[in-house]
């Protein structure tokens, strides 16, 4: 992984900042919501306190229903959103309302539900009756023989006087209530009450009646009783919440006070929903401004929406609610509850705003940081690369020629560059010393060797006993070998001198190689030589003597590293710009890492030993001569393995 990539990854670490910011914003939001909750609670308690003991504000015909908790006979009127159509079908009524009252007798059952809309009260009376009996059509209402199933509705008025009404019909359709009054002489008459009207419809297994009663007629109590008959004019079975004998209502009709809503309205604000509940959790009044929310989602920017989508958790609460009990006048009873619900939109919006800013800032900061880091890393790696290139190319054969970059820098890289520069300088001095060492050594050894050899020469002329002659010969052999070593050691220096004094001429490289290969065949009879030469002459501007010497070294090398009877291949190829000489020999492959050092002075990679001295100068000489000809030398293992190929490239552009 490159330095650039590493620093880039580090830079990406700054992206934790937005995350941390988001967590902070969430905390902040929780705190905010907590505060909101508390203020809501305070509002709820204030409203509850203002309603303390005001049962008249809670319920119509206030009495004090709070003192007597709603019993099974009390009927809680529910607020109706629209006036139901009085057709006898229960479609407009809420199904399964908890405020239904159910009275049963055997298989019969009466389900009662009261509702309020504006100044009218409504009753939904559903009767399960497997055997519906209609009134006799056209018969007198008061004639017991024509009595079918009948419904009694009784209530008290504002003054507390009791009124009873009879609802009966001979056919489905509109109905109205009738009052039975006793005239003088005890005669009973049925008087129509047009203010109480409704609809009657049979249902499967019973019938359903809707009734409307103006609120002005109603007092605190109301009840319904069903007289169910098995056959027309039979004895009725009664069930409902009226006293069977006196028809007095056993329960109250609880209707929210109409002024409660306007009372609550003064407290309401956009985004709030105020609800007053009875003790039985019946909604007495509700002022709903929840949907008058502050900012709708569409108005938020694209980015904040994205943030919210990314970061919102499903368990986030969208509303804040508070509830406070309304105490009775004696502070012991509970009249009901004030419930306030506020959308969390406000705190969410606040959170979003903070979050958006935070994220924007941190994202910009992160992006800047990443870019800066990337640029810095690029700059660093550029410097490192420059340093690497410099260190690779600084030490040439001629010595330290390139000036080292970055040595002026005051940072660690500058230190590295300086120490590199110093190290390379020392290395250069050392290799320079090594390079001249062979020559110096050869020179220094030559004098004592001359002493030895001239002494041996003189000894030849003395009378030496035959026994000593052996040792004399050995001493001579040894000194000859020493001399050969000296010659080999000085070879590179002499080639360098030869190169300096070399004269270039135009010659045919092909003919030269042809002739040289002929010489090698004679010179190395234990090897086979194959010359692969082009058909055309290859004219080269250079020093043929040096080229021959180079070939000699290459062939020497190839012979040394191949077995007897091995076949060595000398190849020449040329194009307009360069001539390529290759010498292939079977034998051991090149050691992996030493390829580029092979052509350096004093590089020795042979493992075996023979009698000839080797100083790793042969291939160095090859390189010197190749470079003199504007070319280069390289080595590789043969494609088939098992052998080496040395290639010299000579420039034909003089």
């Amino acid at each position: 992984m490159s330095l650039r990539l590493k620093l880039l990854l580090l830079g990406l670490g700054t992206l934790f900042l937005p995350w941390a910011g988001f967590e902070y914003a969430r905390e902040m939001e929780a705190a905010l919501r907590d505060g909101e909750q508390q203020s809501l609670q305070a509002i709820a308690q204030t409203i509850a306190a203002s309603l303390q003991g005001r049962s008249d504000l809670l319920y119509r015909m206030g009495g004090d229903p709070g003192l007597i908790p709603p019993g099974p006979n009390d009927l809680q009127a529910i607020p109706l959103l629209a006036a139901p159509f009085l057709d006898g079908y229960p479609d407009e009524w809420p199904r399964n309302s908890p405020f239904r009252r159910v009275y049963s007798d055997g298989p019969h059952r009466l389900t009662l539900l009261a509702g309020v809309h504006e100044h009218l009260a409504y009753l939904l009376i559903q009767v399960r009756d497997p055997h519906v009996v209609w009134d006799a059509p056209g018969a007198d209402v008061l004639d017991p023989a024509g009595f079918g199933d009948r419904i009694w509705v009784a209530f008290t008025d504002a003054a507390g006087a009791q009124h009873e009404y009879l609802v009966a019909t001979a056919e489905p359709g509109p109905v109205h209530a009738r009052r039975i009054e006793t005239e003088d002489l005890g005669r009973q008459v049925a008087i129509d009450e047009p203010r109480i009207s409704g609809g009657w419809q049979p249902m499967s297994g019973g019938y359903c009646v809707e009734l409307r009663i103006p609120m002005s007629m109603l007092g605190a109590r109301l009840g319904v009783l069903v007289d169910e008959r098995e056959h027309r004019g039979g004895n009725p079975v009664s069930f409902g919440n009226l006293d069977h004998e006196s028809l007095a209502p056993m329960g109250r009709l609880l209707i929210p006070a109409p002024q409660l809503t306007s009372y609550l309205a003064q407290f309401v604000q956009p985004g709030l929903r105020l609800t007053v509940l009875g003790t039985d959790q019946a909604i007495l009044s509700q002022v709903d401004a929840l949907s008058v929310a502050t900012v709708s989602g569409a108005e938020r920017g694209l980015l904040p929406q994205l943030y919210r989508r990314l970061l919102e958790r499903p368990q986030d609460v969208k509303v804040v609610a508070a509830q406070a009990p309304i105490a009775g006048a004696d502070r012991k009873q509970t009249l009901g509850f004030v419930q306030i619900v506020e959308t969390a939109e406000r705190s969410l919006t606040l959170r979003d705003k903070a979050l958006t800013q935070l994220l924007d800032f941190t994202l910009i900061t992160s992006a800047l940081a990443v870019m800066l880091m990337f640029a810095f890393a690029a700059w660093l790696s550029w410097r490192l690369a420059r340093l690497r290139r410099a260190s690779e190319s600084a030490l040439t054969r001629e010595g330290l020629v390139t000036t080292f970059p970055d040595t002026e820098a005051h940072d660690e890289l500058g230190d590295v560059a300086r120490s590199f520069s110093m190290l390379l300088g020392r290395l250069n001095e050392y290799t320079g010393y090594l390079r001249t060492l062979a020559g110096k050594l050869a020179h220094e050894i030559r004098t004592p060797l001359t002493i030895v050899r001239s002494s041996l020469d003189n000894l030849e002329s003395e009378s030496v006993p035959p026994a000593a002659r052996t040792y004399l010969n050995r001493a001579r052999e040894g000194s000859e070998r020493l001399n050969a070593i000296l010659v080999a050691m000085g070879a590179a220096t002499r080639v360098e001198e030869a190169i300096q004094g070399a004269e270039r001429s135009r010659f045919d490289l092909r003919a030269l190689m042809d002739s040289a290969v002929g010489a090698y065949r004679t010179g190395f009879p234990q090897r086979q030589f194959i010359a692969e030469l082009p058909d055309e002459p290859v004219l080269l501007h250079g020093a043929p003597d040096l080229i021959v010497q180079m070939l000699d070294k290459l062939v020497d090398n190839a012979v040394d590293f191949s077995a007897d009877q091995a076949t060595l291949t000398l190849r020449l190829a040329a194009d307009a710009t360069q001539a390529i000489i290759e010498v292939d020999n079977p034998g051991p492959a090149l050691a992996g890492e030493g390829h580029q050092h092979l052509f350096e002075s004093l590089w020795q990679s042979r493992s075996g030993s023979d009698s000839r001295p080797h100083f790793g100068l042969g291939l160095y000489i090859v390189r010197l001569i190749a470079e003199f000809h504007g070319g280069s030398a390289e080595a590789c293992t043969l494609p088939e393995g098992g052998g080496a190929r040395f290639r010299v490239i000579l420039s034909r552009l003089s």
Partner: protein
Amino acid sequence: MLPYGLPCAPRLQYASVMKLIAIIEDEPAIRDNYAAAFTREGYAVRTYGNRHQAMTACAARLPDLAVIDISLEDEPEGGFELCRALRSMSAELPIIFLTARDSELDAVSGLRLGADDFLTKDLSIPHLIARVNALFRRIEALRRPQTTGQIVQRGSLLVDGERMQIQWEGEVVLLSLTEFWIVHALAKHPGHVRNRQQLMDAANVVLDDNTITSHVKRIRRKFQQLDPKFDAIQTVYGMGYRWVE
């Protein structure tokens, strides 16, 4: 330059006595070894360790031949100075450089100062004596009228084996002893390739390839100074050289 071709004054006073060889060499062991060998050959030998001693002695009596090392005690180039001084005293005194220094530059400078030969110390004593003898023979031959006994003519080339002299188109080519022997070996069998070993044997030297090459190069240059079109010495790459007529 040593004027081999010029007639010179006879030095009859030394002809009858032993030839005097001066060895100027700062290494006592080598000096004494050479001295012993020359003495054995019947030469009179004087040895000197530095330039000052040598100059004083030579001014008193000029030797018949001088063998000089280039670096003498504290003078790295002392031999060159001495050579120049001796050559100014006598134009025909044979001077041989015998040195541990084998650089091309030293050889060129030595020969340019008028030395008859430039040898490295890896030369064996028999080889050295052969050269010294040859140089004396040449001086003798130069003093005698020219005979035709050892003269070989190859086209424009004339090789006088006795005087060790080469003429090209009638003009004397000034060659050192080694160079003469190389040309002699090549010209003896024109058209035949002489490899480097054969040339070394002929020249009584042990040299490496580069030195042979530079010798041949110097020979060619000397011929080309007389005749720019000279190309009688041909390189047979990888093998050696041959003389073509």
